[in-house]
Symmetry: C2
Subunit: 153 residues, 2 copies
DNA sequence: ATTGAAAGCTCTTCCGA
DNA sequence: TCGGAAGAGCTTTCAAT
């Protein structure tokens, strides 16, 4: 997984600019660092071909779509063998935005976005709890998110 | 927070393409939906000015940087009043990529990326536990992440 | 809200250093 | 790894619909 790519200071600037705004023009970065657009372009190509860059995404504001409730839900499975079938069902619930297989109390740990607490309750009782193998859930509502970032390069 | 923006099918296609790849050219989208580049450009401008779009980001692969361990950590605070000072300290730990104030067992709930389990242990014992107000932590390591997406538009 | 046109800028490639 | 140059492609604006 560590593709052995070597990153220097110029690469870091390219990455930083594009992490801030993925649509920043390559030529703008070129002017900033003082080398040619072609050189930046070549470096970006190299970075794209490495495993470092997964892609670039437009980031949406869930609140603008009415999704004001963020919650984490720990799921107890009756048996660990039900993991993959449960995942398949969770994938069909659009509000489930992350799904982890975790050590500790639970088997599955999900992050969920809902329009409000009522919708969350309905979703847990109606959609999640009815998945085959789900024994019990524990829910933690996020009242406030203060940090949201990527790993520092 | 719900800025009252109206989104039609064409806007949804624009958003979908840019969520897939933020660097997709507007003209490419224009050809796909069959209206002019100028029209798509205007729509994108409108979307950018709304609260729907937070921005666009290059997405990095933590594993390519050697960060192979993802963990969630519930933090018990001695008193809720220590929340903001604790956040300030957590912000100084680059491995902390998310930080939530949650209902339920804990006061603070963080997502953390580390190079390996040893680093995680060191970070918890050395950096997190020593923050003033932190009484105890509970750690859940993510062995596998199967879902990672944004809210459906 | 959409269009085509026009101007300016950006991307991409290629080759020589 | 970099720079220059060239053509293709893209963005941005505008007047008109």
């Amino acid at each position: 997984m560590s593709g052995g790519i070597k990153i220097d200071g110029i690469d870091k600037i390219i990455i930083k600019r594009l992490v801030e705004d993925a649509r920043t023009p390559v030529l703008g970065i070129a002017r900033e660092v003082g080398i040619s657009g072609a050189a930046i372009h070549q470096r970006l190509r190299k970075l794209e071909d490495s495993e470092l860059m997964i892609g670039s995404k437009l980031i949406l504001n869930p609140k603008a779509l009415g999704y004001t409730t963020t919650a984490f839900v720990g799921i107890f499975l009756e048996s660990a063998s039900m993991y993959s079938s449960a995942i398949k069902k969770l994938r069909d619930i659009p509000e489930v935005v992350e799904c982890h297989y975790t050590t500790g109390n639970w088997s599955i740990f999900i992050k969920i976005l809902c329009k409000n607490n009522e919708d969350l309750m309905y979703l847990l009782n109606h959609d999640v709890q009815r998945i085959k193998g789900v024994a019990r859930t524990e829910t933690f509502i996020s009242l406030d998110q203060q940090i949201n970032r990527q790993i520092k390069i």
